[in-house]
């Protein structure tokens, strides 16, 4: 009997993120990003979220009963299956609620929704501590540099961590984004390859002088106390993907909407989950990012004319920390089933250290490219944040939410805009993708494997380890040819070419790619055997080459076209 309260107490202590005492903290200054004021507004934000959520159900007895029933049963199902300390803590309350629901008055049901929404919003809401932000800006580059190359730390300290600056490149209209951040609310919508994405993005924003953003991080990412401390105190809010209750989704959506309404720059991964295949995401539901459209409408109705700018971005890694797990999951077709992967490389300290250590040997680890900003209705915006129509004239974005002269709140209309936005962001991803040298070498090697095994289906081909070799001289030649074509596509504005791929000789690109894969991945990707390169791990090759897939056919020569077409067909319809 004693065990229950103890485990419950331990659970509570562990599940509450650590915060520094509020007193003695510095106050935000004028001109600071909105997030610096978050802690002062946190309680009001939660109250607003709860109030608006209750409004959704109040006055509609059927809807009210349904949402409580659904939440109760969904939570009982989840907690019973979990059977952990959280279940001990909460299961009883949910069971009592479901049992009493039929006898409750409408007022009691409304109060139940209010209480549940309050608990949920409190769990979701993040925290922002200026002291932690200051600490992070000072120590993160140092820690990363030290881990990557401890012997070189004194020189790095003197040089201002230039190694990290070289490893992580930021491209795109950064100065314009800084201006737009002063004018309106940025909604960053990047591609998603790794759990390191949010950390890398946070670092780049900090380094480039862009404001910090709030974002919803999976609750599983908070399981590591150190990461949890930084995430929680730097504005991340917690999204528990295990909770399927509609009420929870409503609270989450409302929280995200209210944050954008209040001018908090936000970050969402519209693909929803990390790309399992390595392909650039093409079908975006946008999910919570769609609340940017609703937030804009709601502000217009209240007479607040603060613009919202959507900013697509691509994260282009030389090596992906979780590549092995992700591609394995993709090939198993288990992407949906394992929406939350908890046993990947990100959760293993040895793999993270090996990864970070490997980075120090690379010429470039990540190219983060920001695309051009657009309003919620897919119009480009100029330097002053004005929406630009196809005619080149400026256009009032508020006109999109007006009905006969009056701005209105219309979720069905905004769902239409959100769908359009998803399509436009997906097209921007392709345009703003930066092809990295490891991806191109993987593509040429994989194309050779496909050409050598034309009769095999995907799964049979993936088992061909150490059986197909490509003459090195041919690999170098084909990489050179493909790089030249990519540069031509870049000139047409169709794709971007990474700095290393652009500048090195093909021979060097090939040897650097082989070296990059060596030592980090637990399996050999490809190795040199005399004058040949032996393909050892078709899975990892597939993962890295998938990024190049949309251009596969156009990169091919007549002799490699058939294989390239098979590869292109793996991406589904054009």
């Amino acid at each position: 009997m004693l065990g229950r309260p103890m485990s419950s107490l331990v659970h509570r202590l562990l599940s509450r993120p650590l915060r520094l005492p509020a007193f003695l903290g510095p106050s935000p200054k004028p001109g600071d990003p909105q997030i610096f004021r978050f802690n002062g507004e946190r309680e009001q934000i939660i109250t607003d979220v709860v109030g608006r959520t209750v409004e959704q159900y109040q006055g509609d007895a059927k809807k009210l009963l349904y949402v409580l029933n659904e939440a109760g049963n969904a939570e009982i199902r989840r907690l019973s299956a979990q059977g952990d300390a959280e279940a001990d803590d909460k299961l009883g309350a949910w069971r009592r609620l479901v049992k009493r629901l039929g006898k409750m008055t409408e007022e009691e049901r409304v109060e139940s929704v209010r209480a549940i929404a309050r608990t949920m919003a409190d769990d979701i809401a993040g925290n922002f501590d200026i002291r932690v932000y200051g600490l992070a800006t000072r120590i993160v580059p140092g820690v990363l540099t030290a881990v990557m190359n401890p012997g070189n730390l004194p020189q790095q300290l003197m040089a201002g961590f230039s190694q990290l600056d070289t490893l992580i490149t930021a491209e795109g209209p950064i100065e314009k984004l800084k201006r737009l951040a002063q004018i309106g609310t940025l909604v960053l919508v990047p591609t998603h390859s790794s759990n390191l994405d949010s950390v890398a993005l946070g670092y780049v924003l900090m380094r480039e002088g862009l404001p910090p953003v709030v974002y919803g991080a999976g609750k599983n990412l908070f399981s590591n106390p150190l990461i949890s401390f930084f995430m929680h105190n730097l504005g991340a809010y917690r999204v528990d993907r295990r909770v399927s209750a509609l009420l929870y989704k409503e609270v989450l959506k409302t929280y995200s909407c209210i944050m954008i309404e209040r001018g908090y720059h936000s970050l969402f991964f519209p693909g929803g989950t990390r790309s399992r295949s390595g392909m650039i995401e093409r079908r975006l539901k946008l999910g919570l990012a769609g609340t940017g459209v609703e937030a804009f409408s709601r502000n217009q109705v209240r007479g607040i004319h603060r613009p919202v700018f959507f900013v697509p971005a691509t994260l282009n890694y030389t090596l992906v920390l979780e590549a092995e797990t992700l591609i394995e999951d993709h090939l198993k077709g288990a992407g949906q089933a394992r929406y939350i992967i908890e046993d990947d490389e990100f959760s293993r300290l040895d793999r993270v250290l090996a990864f970070v250590n490997k980075l120090s040997t690379l010429r470039s680890a990540l190219v983060l490219r920001f695309g051009d900003a657009m309003d919620p209705f897919c119009n480009p915006v100029d330097e002053w944040g004005r929406s630009i129509a196809p005619s080149g004239q400026t256009i009032d974005p508020a006109s999109y939410v007006r009905r006969r002269g009056q701005p209105t709140i219309d979720p069905a209309r905004d769902a239409g805009y959100t769908r359009e936005l998803g399509e436009v962001v997906a097209r921007a991803y392709q345009r703003e993708t930066v092809i990295i040298w490891t991806q191109l070498v993987a593509h040429v090697l994989y194309r050779h494997l496909v050409a050598a095994t034309p009769e095999l289906d995907l799964f049979s081909r993936q088992r061909r380890r150490g059986e197909v070799a490509m003459p090195r001289e041919r690999l170098v030649r084909e990489v050179g040819e493909a790089r030249d074509r990519l540069l031509a596509f870049e000139a047409e504005g169709r794709v971007r070419v990474g700095p290393v791929l652009r500048s090195l000789a093909p021979e060097r690109i090939v040897s650097d790619a082989l070296a990059a894969w060596r030592d980090y991945h637990t399996r050999t990707v490809a190795r040199e055997v005399g004058a040949d390169i032996m393909i050892e791990d078709p899975n990892l090759l597939l993962f890295y080459q998938n990024r190049v897939l949309p251009w596969a056919e156009e990169l091919a020569t007549p002799e490699t076209l058939a294989a390239a077409r098979s590869i292109a067909a793996m991406g589904g319809k054009p």
Binding site: A389, P390, Q393, D396, S399, A415, R419, E420, A569
Partner: protein
């Protein structure tokens, strides 16, 4: 509040049909055409230029697809995000087979766009005889606005959010109506015509789904319903063109008589698209070859009938 006027671009039969239907619904209409062939009425005002349409909320585009981009660009400078644009064209543009809503979206600042599809013909709209169609838009307010403007007891308008499906179904029906006219004049009987219709729609649905549409759109009023109306003889020109082709008429001559027929321009591109994405589209392929003058009537019928029979 007084309802805003309905804008109409294009003074052909369909443009006037829409204007008269809106007038019957009690709405004011502003119709913009470069070559006015009829005088306005008490409720139908002829616009002097695109700027006159700015007061409208809903604007119908009733111009052939090759002109839509230019007209939309000209009009676009007078519009903003509050306008709804709906086209009635059976055209699809470019090698990627884009629907005209995509053209309207890229040439104007308007996002709330839609398409009118199905067996709605100009005469039925003008005279108010029982008829129906499908209004496709991702935006419910656009669907409602079209219903309010021209719908009523005589004109039943169903709605869908499957814009891609409705636009491609409409284009495919135009193409297959030519094929059916051709088959009728080549002496095929009802069973063969039914077979051609069903296989053709199955093919259209396959391609439409690959383009991003929904299969059920092709089986509904925008697809099968529309084709049925064409075969039943609702007076549309495509069927007549098909018959004349089978009787040895030249395309140039037919085009002069019937005006611009969208299907003749799109068959080649649809066939090329199907080949490119490796989709089976034998009916479209044969239509394209017939329209290009590569295959004569009997050979085309022979080619269709000699195809391997598979499962439905």
């Amino acid at each position: 509040m007084t309802a805003p006027p309905i804008g109409i671009v294009g003074g052909g039969d369909f443009g006037w049909g829409l204007a008269l239907a809106a007038e019957r619904a009690g709405r004011k209409v502003v119709l913009w055409t470069r070559r006015p062939q009829r005088a306005g009425t008490a409720k139908i005002e002829l616009a002097q230029g695109p700027g006159d349409l700015a007061d409208a909320e809903l604007i119908f585009f009733a111009v052939p697809s090759p002109f839509v981009a230019d007209v939309a660009r000209e009009l676009g400078g007078c519009l903003d995000g509050s306008h709804y644009l709906v086209h009635i064209s059976r055209g699809i543009v470019g090698e990627e087979l884009l629907g005209l809503t995509q053209v309207l979206r890229s040439e104007t600042p308007c996002r709330r766009v839609g398409a009118l599809a199905g067996p709605l013909v100009a005469r039925a709209l003008a005279e108010g005889v029982p008829s129906g169609g499908v209004v496709a838009s991702r935006f419910p307010e656009v669907r409602d606005a079209v219903r309010e403007a021209i719908g009523g007891p005589a004109t039943r308008l169903y709605s869908t959010d499957d814009v891609i499906g409705a636009e491609f179904a409409s284009a495919a029906v135009g193409l297959f109506a030519v094929a059916l006219g051709f088959a009728q004049a080549s002496g095929l009987g009802p069973a063969a015509l039914a077979m051609l219709s069903t296989r053709a729609m199955a093919e259209a649905a396959r391609l439409g789904v690959l383009l991003g549409g929904k299969h059920e759109t092709f089986m509904g009023l925008a697809g099968f319903g529309d084709l049925l109306a064409a075969v039943a003889g609702d007076g549309r020109p495509e069927l007549e063109i098909g018959r004349s082709l089978a009787q040895g008429g030249s395309l140039e001559q037919l085009a002069k008589q019937a005006g611009y027929i969208e299907a003749l321009g799109s068959a080649r591109r649809v066939a090329a698209y199907a080949r490119r994405i490796k989709a089976r589209a034998p009916v479209v392929e044969i239509c394209a070859r017939v329209f290009a003058g590569e295959v004569a009537g009997p050979a085309a019928v022979q080619a269709l009938m000699s195809r391997e029979v598979g499962e439905e």
